[in-house]
Symmetry: C2
Subunit: 263 residues, 2 copies
């Protein structure tokens, strides 16, 4: 069989929020490098919890790095969303065929989709019309075991790339339980669970006697239905939540339209 | 008529993303101070474009400030979302009756809902079960004229506070055209337009000859329907988009469930 020419290979843009040196992004690259021409554009510093932040008040830096052998890689001083914007406008000078974000060290299920830099990068790409997937492993450790995650990533990315009719705004939030491959029961299409953090700020005193606060909180799931991502993960399934960026609450919209409020 | 006791007044939490010294937040306070007991918790520095970012990697500072006469006000080093979390957990020690965010200097219609710190603060409150409204004026100037905006804010907040059956996750994205009151045609319930920025990074050289990049871009509306926020604003209406934080794409979810993908 003739070898596919480099120029004909689909371009796979890879980013993340943990930073370009993390094991998670390396694992993602290893998982998909046989599926296309990989280009990496990722933050040069940890950007967890950055949500859909963009950098407005200061300029951005960007430099080519030699961290992935023969794969083109750039680190930027920006947020994950900035990375996607820079990749399209300044590095690729075109839209990649797919954008993959992660593999995040830690869960991005349920409400975390809003706080997650990993998912916001994927969402930014989807807004741009680039099919996009965010991957997260339920293990925060810097040396987490990505063995099963890499198999899941390869399977999902292959299938999405092979979809005949693919929504250009396709956006998936994939979470993977921290289990060995043989313990994972399968892949479930889910909805986002209604869950949230019960905040509890830790109060401390600095050496000068002034107070400061650390954000901590307990994750609480209020959603007892069985088609949520939280349920799937608890039951050893990989969760796949299709995500949209139209945040209109259409139910409330028609209620308000029927009422005479604001007239 | 007996005066309502201070303790019986509804608590109105006010925050923003432009920072606690901005004219927008002062205008919001002036617009609603007769409607309840106002408490302000806002960033001590500009947080525009911070989206749903939270501060994880460093601790937060918070101090009481004397900027609003007899109204309790706190500034924090955190993001708008952090401000809401701190307000509930450390300042009010309860949920306020309503949370108002803004008035933002500049538009937060369409896709901007994702990048906006103003809207993310309101969304954080809605997740907590606090009815919440984000307000934005289509004028970026620091000394923008908030005369019409204040009238709109007073009307909408009064009506929302008086709603008999109110969804505790009620969340509205209100944008106000930069016009004198008599030029505003009314208030329209809308959906979020599909629009985006066509990025164009400005490239410059620092004094040491190294490149840096400023994020710029032209706003482009791809949504030609007449029930969008962009249409309403263009036609001199105030736009009100009801917003949700369940990002599940249910259409794509049922498509994927019907397909045999990922089996």
């Amino acid at each position: 069989m003739a070898k596919v020419k480099e120029a004909e290979k689909p371009i796979i843009l890879i980013t993340n929020d943990d930073d370009i040196t993390s094991k998670g992004i390396r694992s993602l690259v290893e998982a998909v490098r046989d599926l296309g021409k990989v280009v990496i554009v990722a933050p040069d510093n940890p950007q967890s919890g950055m949500g859909h932040a963009i950098t407005i008040g200061q300029p951005l830096r960007m430099e080519k790095v030699d961290l992935f052998g023969d794969i083109e890689a750039w680190q930027t001083s920006g947020t994950p969303v900035d990375c996607v914007k820079l990749a399209v406008d300044k590095i690729l000078h075109r839209k990649p065929d797919i954008c993959l974000s992660g593999i995040n060290h830690g869960a991005n299920h349920s409400i975390n989709v809003l706080y997650s830099g990993t998912m916001s990068a994927a969402m930014e790409a989807a807004i741009e019309g680039i099919p996009s997937i965010g991957f997260s492993l339920l293990d925060y450790a810097y040396d987490a075991d990505f063995t099963a995650a890499k198999q899941v990533v390869h399977k999902i990315v292959t299938q999405v790339m092979n979809m005949k009719k693919k929504d250009k705004h396709l956006l998936l939030n994939v979470n993977i339980p921290a289990l060995p491959p043989e313990k994972i029961k399968g892949i479930k299409i889910c909805k986002q669970a209604y869950a949230k953090y019960e905040e509890d700020f830790l109060e401390r005193l600095d050496p000068h006697g002034k107070k400061y606060y650390w954000l901590t909180g307990a994750f609480t799931n209020f959603d007892k239905s069985k088609d949520t991502d939280v349920w799937a993960l608890k039951n050893n399934y990989v969760s796949v939540v299709p995500v949209q960026f139209d945040l209109t609450n259409y139910t409330l919209k028609s209620q308000l339209e029927k009422s005479n409020l604001f007239k």
